[in-house]
Structure formats: C-alpha cells, structure tokens
Amino acid sequence: MRFLFKTSYEQDIALAKHGGQRFWYGALLAALLLAPWIFPEYWLAQISFVLIYSIAGLGLMLLAGFTGQVSIGHAAFMGVGAYTQAVLTGMGWPFPVALAAATALSALIGVVVSVPALRVKGIYLGIATLAFGFIVEEVFARWESVTGGNAGIHFKAPNLFGWKLDTSESFYYLCLVLCVAITLGVLNLLRSPTGRAFVAIRDSEISAQSMGIHLAWFKGLAFAISAAVVGVAGALYGHKMGFISPDQFSLLQSVELLLLVVVGGLGFVHGAFLGAIFIISMPQIIALAKDFLPPAIGQAAGLQGMVFGIVLVVFVLFEPMGLYGRWLKVRTWFQLFPFYRKGMFKRQKSFTKSDRLK
C-alpha cells in the first residue's frame, strides 16, 4: 500500500498524485498517440467515438456528477453544437473559429436554460431540461432554411486554415487533442475554488449558501461550462458522422448520456471515460453475442434496449458508483489485502428527505 505524505499545498492540488499515476497516464497517452499505427481503421474510428463521447460525458458529469443538477435534455446542447458547426463550416469558416462559435452558442443557451433552473430544483429541473430538449429538437426539425429540417445537414471535413483533416487518422488526432485539453481543463476547474463551489452545491445547497457561495451564479456557470463542453462534443460528433438530423439529438440520446455518466460512475472524472467506452462497446458486444443466442432472442428488435435497461437497473441497484466505483473496490481490496471489509463502500441510507421543502 502506498502512503502519501503531503508536505506542501502544491502537492495536495497536483493533478498526478504520485509517480505511479504519472507513469500509467503517460503510458496511456503514449498508447493513444501511437494508436493509428496499432489499430486498424475500424477500431480507430471507434476510439474516436469513445473520445467524443468522453467529452460529452465530461460535460454532463460536471453538471450532474459534480454540481448535482440533473439534466434530461443534454442532447440538445450536443445538437446546438453540431448544427452551429455544420452551418458555419458550411459557410466556409475555418474549423477552430466555427468550433469556438459553436461552443459559445451552446454555453449561451446553457445560461438561458439555467434561468428557470435557478428557481427550481430536483425533479422540476429535470422536467425543465426535458421540455427544453423537446423544444430544441422540434426547432431543428422545423427551421428548415438553416437546419435542413428532417432531411438533415451534411458536414464538410474539418478545415484547419487550409489543412484539411479528411483522413481517419488526422481526425482521430483532432479528437485526442481536444479530449486531452478538455480533460485537463475540467481537472483544473475541479481543483479551483469554482469547482469546489460546485461540489459544495451538490452536497448541500444550504450549507454552500451559508459559506458565501452565490448559488445562482455558480449554477448558471455550471450549466454554461457543461453546455459548452457538450457543444464541442456535438461538433466533433457531427464531423465524425458526416451527417446529422434532428432525431440524433432526441430524448434517447439524452438518456444515453445519462446512462454513460451513471454506468461510468457519477462524480468521478474517470467515470466519463469508462462510461464512454461502455456506451460505444455495448452495441458491438450485443452484436457479437447475437450469434450465440437462440434466434428468437438474438434476432429480436428490442434486445439492445432491454440490455441497456437491465445494465442501468443493475448498476443503480448494486453498483451505484459505477464502473469506476467497481475499480476502486477492486483496487482497495488488493491494497488492503487481507483487511478489506465488506461495508467499506456501503451507501448511507437516510430517511426520505423532502424535496418539497426548499
């Protein structure tokens, strides 16, 4: 077992806590940098999707996992990012400028959504974001002069001031760079006073308020940052797909993002990545498993939805900290061997706290 003796404040807030972390994250980064030479093109595309969904997951994690604000309409921000990117790159804007504009617009809309969110909480917030998601989807479908309506809109390859990223490898690197940058940004945010204010709001709004945290400002900020990050993911998603239509940003996509953060582990940055890997690999695993199942089950249309549902229920019931929580348990088991106790990660039960009082 490793014991860390913290001797300075810099050590306390360092991103990599010890040499082991530096080594493994360095190795991961090296593997990702070398991925185009290691993996065939199909797998590279899947890794790109994982990176894109990780960005989206990080955005939602910041809001749902760290600020405690549930959003059931986050696909709408993805859609805003994707459509803005499509329209602006279609007009010939270079990729970074269009991406900045898409991010800014998503953030702006995030702020607009957060206005009712500042007055309501809990389930009301969920319903407000749900309603917002439906409205945005309808706008995408109806504003045909800009969005192309239900027929959708095509993407051009990203254009970095004349350098066209039209190969699978170059786009992969673009995703990787953005993903690493955003991850570092989120980690940095979380160790700053702002990030700590988010966590304080999640744990108790009343005590956060008593500590002098301006709830409205920080909730609005959380919505804006989350929407901006998800907007970036949306723009990349659009480029990767090459084509977007309103039904890609429906309620199902929002639920998929929620599934991502819950299965990955709510309240952990790692959770966003594990969740993204899960979301991307699950359909593939189901497709592989189909061959081994009796045709009555394997060929049925509802299989994937049902498996997603079962996974969600199982995780909520038995593994509330998600995949990352499972990893923590396994790691602790080995670190403490043979002193691991069963109740170490037990959830605390409380009597139903009333949300009707606020």
Binding site: A128, A131, G302, F308, K349, D355
Partner: protein, 291 residues
C-alpha cells in the same frame, strides 16, 4: 362549434394525461420519488388488455378489469423488488432506475415475436360510435374517457377522504417518520401506492387505446404527463387532473390554430412558462425548509 369540438377532444386527451400525472403525483407524494416508467406501464396495461381480449378471448369488460388488476400486482412487485431497496437514495438514482425499468419493459414487449413490432387496434364495444348533440358531434370514445376519469376521480376522492387506507396514505405523504411512529405500515402503503399508480396507468392505456392504437411507443405519451403534473403543482392530486386538462386543451387548440409543429411542443412551452413564472404550479404547496 369547431372550437367546442376541439375543446372536447382536448379534454379527452387531457384526461389521459391527467390520469398518468395522477400516477406520478401519487408516487411522488408517497415516496418523494419520480417515476419515469409511468408511460410504459400505461403501454403495458394496454398490451395486457389487448392480449386478454384477442389471445384469451375474454369479454371486453372482464379483460379491462383483469388487465388493471394485473398491472396493480405488477406495480406492487416493482415496488417491492426494485424500488424499495434504494429508497432513501438521492432522487436522481430512482429517476435513472425507473428509466431503466422503462427500457426493459419496452424491450420485452418489442421482443415478443409478431406482436411487439406491430400496431394493434383494441376491439372495444363502443368503436366508431358518435353522438350528435345538436350539431356537436362527439365520439363515444371521448365520452367514455371523460366519464371514466370523472368516476375514477370520485372514487379516489372518496378513498382519500373516508377510508382508513386513504387517510393513512395522506398521513404518510405529509410526514413519513411521524406516520411510522403512529403505527402506519409505511412500507406496505408505499407498495399499495405503486399498485394504485400502475392500475391507474393501465386504465389510462386502455382508455387511450381506441383513439391511438396499441404499440410499443405508446409510453412516450406519458412524457407529456410531466408538464401536466408540473402545471398542477407536483404534489396535488386534483392539480394533476386539472393540469392534464389544461395541457390537453392547449395541445388540441395549438394543433389547429398555430403553425405545424407547435402541437408537439405546446405542452413543453407551457411547462417552461409555468416553471419560469410560478414554479409551484397552480395548486402547489409553498413550504420553506427550516435549517
């Protein structure tokens, strides 16, 4: 005349929203949890009724009764097996759990060969009958929906007002701990509330079936019951029905008078406006937490 016609069909649709919203509110009042599975329970109820009529050959009214009862038992089991173990966790956990249950229910129905992927008509005795009321043409299906909702509301009102169980449920919803100290079996009541909510959802599904058709995605109609519940104030039973009626009428009128596309999002625009101006809803209670 056209206006009245629209209002009547809106009210009929609104009754369905109201019934589903009633399920949300019952569960919310009892356990402070929000069930996203209500719409899918409605779909399941409609499919059970369909199965009872077509596969088992039951007479319509007995089929309705048995489908509603079966869904009541299903709700009881759902609460006992899945919801109760995680009560006391943050609300979000249970929201995700019910979304997951909804996925499973939809998946299971879709996987039934030759039935799950098709749309069906529920054969009802009052199919396609209309009622000519001095130039106002009212379809019996709408009348049945409105009348059943009214009767159900009266029954529920009587139950909550006069029966011991109803009063115990009210006590539990006001203060769970105090009710428990008074000897009310809170856990068993929560189970009963889920049973009641599922049965009401099944009834809503069976009432809706003649108008729409029975298919797997029937449950998405349940999402429009959220605006209904919010408009009525999330914790109020009469509010749920009235909210449902408002949403139904707004939807029906906006479908006719406003441009295309507004019909689908009108309920959500209403709910956003409501949350913006009057977050507690029309009949919501205003309480402040004491620190």
């Amino acid at each position: 005349m056209q206006f009245l016609q629209l209002v009547i069909s809106g009210i009929a649709q609104g009754c369905i929203y109201g019934l589903i919203a009633l399920g949300f509110v019952l569960i919310y009042k009892a356990t402070e949890t929000v069930s996203f599975v209500q719409g899918d329970l409605m779909m399941l109820g409609a499919f059970l009724g369909l199965g009872a009529v077509t596969a088992l050959g039951m007479p319509f009214w007995i089929a309705v009764l048995s489908a509603v009862l079966a869904m009541g038992v299903f709700g009881l089991l759902l609460e006992r097996l899945l919801i109760r173990p995680i009560l006391g966790q943050p609300q979000f956990t249970i929201v995700m759990l019910t979304i997951g249950i909804g996925y499973i229910v939809r998946g299971v129905i879709t996987m039934i060969p030759n039935i799950g992927t098709e749309t069906h008509t529920l054969p009802v005795p009052y199919k396609d009958m209309v009622w000519n009321l001095a130039g106002l043409i009212v379809s019996i299906e709408h009348v049945v929906i409105i009348a059943s909702t009214a009767i159900l509301c009266a029954l529920l009102y009587a139950m909550f007002r006069y029966s011991t169980i109803g009063i115990a449920m009210q006590a539990t919803s006001q203060n769970q701990l105090a009710a428990y100290y008074m000897g009310i079996p809170v856990k068993r009541l929560n189970g009963l509330v889920w049973a009641l909510a599922s049965a009401v959802a099944a009834l809503a599904g069976l009432l809706l079936a003649p108008i729409t058709f029975v298919h797997v995605n029937l449950g998405y109609i349940g999402l429009k019951a959220f605006p209904a519940a919010v408009v009525g104030g999330f914790g109020s039973l009469p509010g749920a029905i009235i909210g449902g009626l408002i949403i139904g009428v707004v939807e029906s009128l906006s479908g006719f008078y406003l441009p295309d596309g507004f019909k689908d999002i009108a309920p959500y625009l209403v709910v956003l406006a409501m949350l913006w101006f009057k977050p507690n809803g029309l009949f919501g209670e205003k309480l402040r937490k004491k620190v």
